[in-house]
């Protein structure tokens, strides 16, 4: 369409740029940024003076695309924003439209939705676990996490048809039913996962080098959390027990018994422990779902062309990275008038420049890894 001929020249006000400084480009193509994030680091030796993320390398103007598509056609684009937890995004969009149009979802479909979303949360945390350890220099945990995640992706592929970018939920239900073999395989996965989790803790959590690399590194003070609008494990690592599944319950979460893991330290180790505890919580939730999944049909009666009544609405959902809120304005036609995606990684990254000040380069990468960022979600 158009290319910007002028390279983004980036210059600080003269006052900030001393002569002795050493400007380092972390990204946009760098093993540590897991995506096209560019951070301009102003370094003094190995210590970072200022860090300024430059965004937009993966920007596709999702919100304008949503203004050219019908309500149903926007669903596949949801999976392209946060490809690690596409089902949470599916759920947010589908619940939003159901809330606006007032469709009822049959209970079995709700159970299948939460079952697949929690499996998706585990697969997202497993990938984060591997990537975080890769940032700290350990190669093996990545492969161990993928050993389990592979089984999970195969499992989800049997009913959704895709491994990463799911387009599985439908307005008023789900795309496909769950049969006995799927439930048996899920149980097998749960047992394998529970057998492997202690191995993760032995290999990593106790490790003295890992402790030195993560303990009180990148501490987020409770004072800052509301200033930057943090959410998800990044927030729960600093002592705030805010989880959208508990605070604004949707779908069948009120019927499931699960507690929200919280750490008080607010450092990389705290966020790490919160996410591993969340894998346990999700496993328990799936147990409860497998135990009492009701029978019945999986798709409510829904008109062919979806036309939500005029007005606006918002839907908040807990993705593995935090609170995703979609705010949509409808003018009664089959095309959304305005859609705004409030993405968790956007807020979680905005605190990075404050946290990276004065840290070592190695710590800055540990912090970036512990924030569990998905860059296409930030760039939208």
């Amino acid at each position: 369409m158009f290319e910007s001929q002028i390279a983004p020249t980036y210059h600080l006000e003269p006052s900030e740029e001393q002569e002795s400084d050493f400007i380092l480009n972390l990204g946009p193509q760098h093993p540590g940024t897991h995506g096209v994030l560019r951070v301009i680091l102003h370094m003094d030796g190995e210590y970072i003076l200022t860090a300024d993320p430059v965004l937009g390398y993966g920007h596709r103007m999702q919100e304008k695309i949503a203004e050219n598509m019908t309500w149903a056609q926007v669903l596949p684009y949801m999976a392209r924003m946060d490809y690690l937890s596409a089902l949470s995004y599916n759920q947010a969009w589908v619940c939003l439209v159901e809330k606006m149009c007032g469709y009822e979802v049959p209970p079995r479909a709700e159970y299948i939705r939460v079952l697949t979303t929690e499996l998706n949360r585990i697969s997202s945390h497993l990938l984060w676990f591997g990537a975080f350890l890769l940032d700290l220099g350990a190669f093996t945990p990545f492969l161990h996490a993928f050993e389990d995640r592979e089984k999970l992706l195969d499992l989800l592929e049997t009913i959704t048809g895709s491994r990463l970018t799911y387009c599985f939920f439908r307005f008023g239900g789900v795309g496909a039913d769950v049969d006995a073999t799927f439930l048996r395989e899920t149980q097998e996965f749960l047992d394998q996962m529970r057998a492997h989790l202690p191995g993760y803790h032995e290999l990593v959590t106790g490790n003295v080098i890992f402790e030195h690399r993560t303990k009180n590194v990148g501490v987020i003070l409770p004072f800052d959390t509301s200033g930057y609008g943090l959410s998800g494990p990044v927030l729960r690592g600093s002592g705030e027990a805010y989880d959208v599944r508990v605070k604004e319950p949707y779908s069948i979460y009120p019927e499931l018994k699960f507690n929200v893991p919280v750490e008080q330290t607010g450092d990389c180790m705290g966020r790490y422990l919160v996410r591993l505890a969340e894998i346990d919580e999700s496993l328990n939730m799936i147990d409860q779902i497998l135990a009492n999944i009701p029978d019945g049909d999986i798709q409510a009666k829904v008109p062919k062309i979806i036309k939500p009544p005029e007005g606006e609405a918002s839907m908040a959902v807990e993705t593995p990275r935090g609170e995703l809120m979609i705010y949509a304005v409808s003018d009664g036609t089959k095309i959304p008038y305005r859609v705004k995606y409030r993405v968790p990684s956007f807020a979680n990254l905005s605190i990075f420049s404050k946290m990276a000040r004065g840290q070592l380069l190695a710590d800055a990468l540990a912090i970036l890894g512990s924030l569990d960022l998905v860059i296409p979600e930030i760039d939208r």
Binding site: M69, A72, Q73, V74, L75, P76, Y77, R80, T140, H144, E147, D154, E157, T158, I159, T160, G161, S162, T165, C167, R170, G175, A176, G199, E202, L203, V204, G206, N207, V208, I209, E211
Partner: protein, 153 residues
């Protein structure tokens, strides 16, 4: 001071050894790598290759009636359909059914929107070519018989 100094070293060393125990244990367990050229992984039943036209069992022609609902349903408008009514038949039949697979996101909205279930996902995953040109205009009519006498446009 000395006691905590020595204790730190001992616990540190201990944690390193437990870590090493895990890796050596994994070294002797068998991973489940599928050595691709010799063994092939089992394809799940709901696997999504590029879409293809479903032939009618009896006549062998495509079930598709060229109504274009899949064209409207597709978010990245990668399907183009032209249809005409072959002589002596009630319903239209597609003369051109082209898929731009380079833009398709395999979301399945077309498969669901088809009133006569004329489209399903194919199962071939090893699509490879020297350029993307052959995939940008895949003619799906090649794999089904054509009701029109002579070749379709």
């Amino acid at each position: 001071m000395i006691k905590s100094y020595v204790r730190d070293i001992i616990t540190g060393l201990g944690s390193l050894l437990t870590g090493m125990k895990v890796t050596i244990k994994v070294m002797f367990t068998k991973g489940n790598t599928v050595e691709w050229p010799r063994q092939t992984a089992q394809l799940p039943e709901k696997f999504r290759g590029h879409i293809m036209l479903v032939p009618n069992e009896s006549t062998g022609f495509a079930k598709c009636i060229a109504c274009g609902s899949c064209v409207r349903a597709c978010p990245s408008n990668c399907i183009t359909v032209k249809g005409a009514k072959p002589e002596g038949a009630k319903k239209k039949s597609p003369t051109l059914f082209a898929l731009d697979f380079t833009k398709c996101s395999l979301c399945g909205l077309c498969v669901e929107s088809c009133p006569v279930d004329a489209i399903t996902f194919s199962r071939d995953y090893a699509l490879v070519d020297y350029s993307s040109k052959p995939f940008s205009a895949m003619n799906l009519l090649d794999d089904v018989a054509s009701p029109f006498s002579g070749g379709s446009e």
